[in-house]
Symmetry: C2
Subunit: 443 residues, 2 copies
């Protein structure tokens, strides 16, 4: 076995330079030839709006971005491809051959919440080294943050009951791994996806499918086979035929020690009540009820009063519950007027009509708190930070002169998100549509 294979199986991001739009490279070529490629530049990632009706966003994917920056290299294979397809010229190929990002990256720590205009990531270096990272950075943050935002709403709706991520079959096989990670950041507890367990050490769980019951000559045979092999603590799927009959058989076979039953169809509120009553009558008072079946945050909330012990969520999680991507952009906000590394930076911004303007200048961001210590505004500025906001600044250093900070444990990120959400006004966790829960103010 070689290291390349090992890395591959880990679903890592090795030569991430490939995940790049062609224009990043042709802009590089033109800038190299024009002598402007080395101008010191500042790019910022932000979003002009939250998805419609959402109260807050969740930063997720930062850890993956840092890993991807580390692996962003143009090796012989890639260079041969670019040469064969005549995508860029010889001098550009030479430049790419030795590419390593040597600049600085600051950003909101992963798990933090964000609002329209929040400078979620700030990338600083020469134009050339920064522009190349655009597509890859946006891919990761736009995907992962969309999933984490949905997960966070579902976690609020679940009110402490465990959430199982089961969406692998509903999205691209590698997007699924990132989705599991983002769901964990947003508050999910476990995943069914083995790749996510392997790659990120997220706890994995499994129940059983209808196919297993149908394979056997009777539901009784199937339940007995599962309990014999996996123990009484297993989760039996009880809705292949008749639910009441299945619950009776399940407890008969596993006894009151039966771990859980799963309900995957029907009116979950009604069925959960009936199953709980039946389990209790059979003495299986500790047997838990797991519900699945096209759940989203609203369905989860509607089951708050039902005797449900865990929710399994698939489709609506991995598709961001109606918002499968964020609208984060990566914009140049300042640049030098010469290649001199000491040349001052000038703010720049697109001026055209059409709602896509942006605000020039390298930004700081802080979350202003009210007297009770609760967030009351996202404050963003380009000048000096007011003294009273110095301790509430949001951007942290992630890469310094090309040196990438050590990866954070995912549990740290997950806890940070819980704390960040708890620091917002109470209406943040209302599921109903509304405006961002705190306003963005510019100084």
């Amino acid at each position: 076995m070689n290291t390349g294979d090992l890395e591959l199986r880990r679903v890592g991001v090795p030569s991430t330079a490939l995940f790049t739009d062609q224009y990043e490279l042709t802009m590089l070529q033109a800038a190299l030839r024009a002598g402007t490629a080395d101008r010191r530049s500042v790019f910022e990632v932000f979003t002009r709006r939250l998805p419609e009706g959402r109260r807050y966003g969740v930063v997720a994917g930062t850890g993956r971005v840092l890993e991807a920056v580390r692996n962003f290299r143009f090796d012989a294979d890639l260079l041969a491809f670019l040469r064969d397809k005549d995508i860029v010229d010889g001098p550009t190929l030479d430049w790419l051959d030795s590419y390593r990002f040597s600049g600085d990256i600051w950003g909101y720590p992963e798990g933090e919440v964000y609002f329209p205009g929040s400078p979620i990531l700030r990338v600083e270096g020469t134009f050339a080294e920064c522009v190349l990272l655009e597509t890859m950075i946006l891919s990761i943050l736009n995907h992962d943050s969309a999933i984490a935002a949905a997960a966070s709403r579902m976690a609020s709706a679940a009110g402490g009951r465990p959430l199982i991520e089961m969406g692998a079959r509903r999205t691209h096989e590698l997007a699924a791994v990132a989705a599991s990670r983002a769901a964990y950041v947003g508050g999910f507890d476990t995943t069914s996806d083995l790749a996510a367990g392997f790659r990120y050490d997220i706890p994995t769980v499994g129940t059983s499918a209808h196919a297993f019951t149908l394979l056997h000559d009777s539901e009784r045979d199937a339940f007995r086979a599962q309990v014999d092999s996996l123990g009484r603590g297993t989760t039996l799927l009880v809705d292949t035929y008749d639910v009441a009959e299945a619950v009776r058989t399940a407890v008969e076979i596993a006894g009151p020690e039966l771990g859980a039953v799963r309900i995957d169809s029907g009116d979950l509120l009604l069925v959960a009540h009936r199953v709980r009553q039946q389990l209790d009558e059979l003495g299986a008072v500790n047997t838990r009820i797991v519900v699945t079946s096209d759940l989203d945050e609203y369905a989860i909330a509607s089951l708050a009063a039902a005797p449900v012990d865990a929710y399994g969520v698939g489709t609506q999680l991995v598709t961001g519950s109606g918002h499968p991507t964020c609208s984060m952009v990566y914009k140049i906000v300042a640049r030098a007027t010469s290649s001199d590394p000491k040349a001052p930076l000038h703010p720049v911004a697109k001026k055209s009509l059409g709602g896509k303007t942006s605000i020039g200048g390298r930004k700081w961001a802080a979350r202003r708190l009210d007297a009770e210590g609760r967030a009351e505004a996202e404050v963003i500025g380009t000048g000096p930070v007011p003294p009273e906001l110095l301790d509430q600044q949001l951007l942290v250093e992630l890469v310094k002169g090309g040196e990438i900070a050590a990866p954070e444990p995912l549990d740290t990120v997950r806890e940070r998100h819980i704390a960040a959400r708890a620091g917002l006004p109470m209406s943040a966790v209302q599921l109903s549509r509304g405006e961002p829960v705190i306003p963005t103010e510019y100084m």
Copy 2:
């Protein structure tokens, strides 16, 4: 350089066994112990409904599925993970160690259209070898088919004008590569994603970003830098400041040989007309107009009368234009009552309430044609195929006894889709919401 690294950079699917829900493995363990794992079984992939309002679905990802089946192995690393986490027992690990799919797979050829109930893929072998593939097969087909369906609608709306896939930054970095592939199948012509060019040889293109204009001291400097380096045939982005001013400058610098201008904001219909008139007045009658900016199939259709030469589509393509996943499921439909390979197959189906029932039995499918040779029904049955439908059968052999058919060129798949869509009633390409364009009939 080692082979593992090379493969990795090709964005292949090496040890796809990882992309699996845990319950596939625990069901395997229980079936092995119960002596039912070797029962011959038939699983089918189908969907109970199309996304709301859609007239047809597009099968995409089949080629990726076959590649993934080929690479579905449990090597030492994976087995160690499963052992360390105590996910399955020793006998199951031993079984997995030698796993190779040795059964048969039939399916709709990639690029074909499908309808509710269409048996898009049929997997046959022992229960054990078939059940393991569920998650991975569904991940690929659900994702890729969703993108291809959106692409197909956009291609119809574009009416022959070229479509550029630009969505990499709006979805997971590897989902983006699969999305480019699916978009090509659905009728897109090119992609901005270099990884898609590298991996699938899809033609890549690029324009320029606002950052490039803002890097330079004036728009004029930026345009000159781009034309000097990339030639007069390049595409200049004209909406950073004032569009009319930019178009004038662009033609002044590049001359009437200017390849194209890109408009990325504003009222595209109005701006395209103005820009066309201006270009013509400046003598740049062959300079093309490329529009981008949150296009979907409706926006594309609304620009049919505008002087637009190409559409660049991002977000709405890679998120399936409102339907980022399909609802395909993988269900056991028949199985033997013993491990004897010659034991007859019995149809099986879930019977519980809640709308999730399915139809048992191994199925054939055919598309019945009317007198003009146009599709009039999707006919699905479990008995003998009526003689008049023998030539209209849809399922083709993809894997025979574990031997996987040679990969198809993507252009073949793309042409198949164009032909399949052309064989549907005209209302198939209406963008308005409606029922599936042909009914599904069961025999």
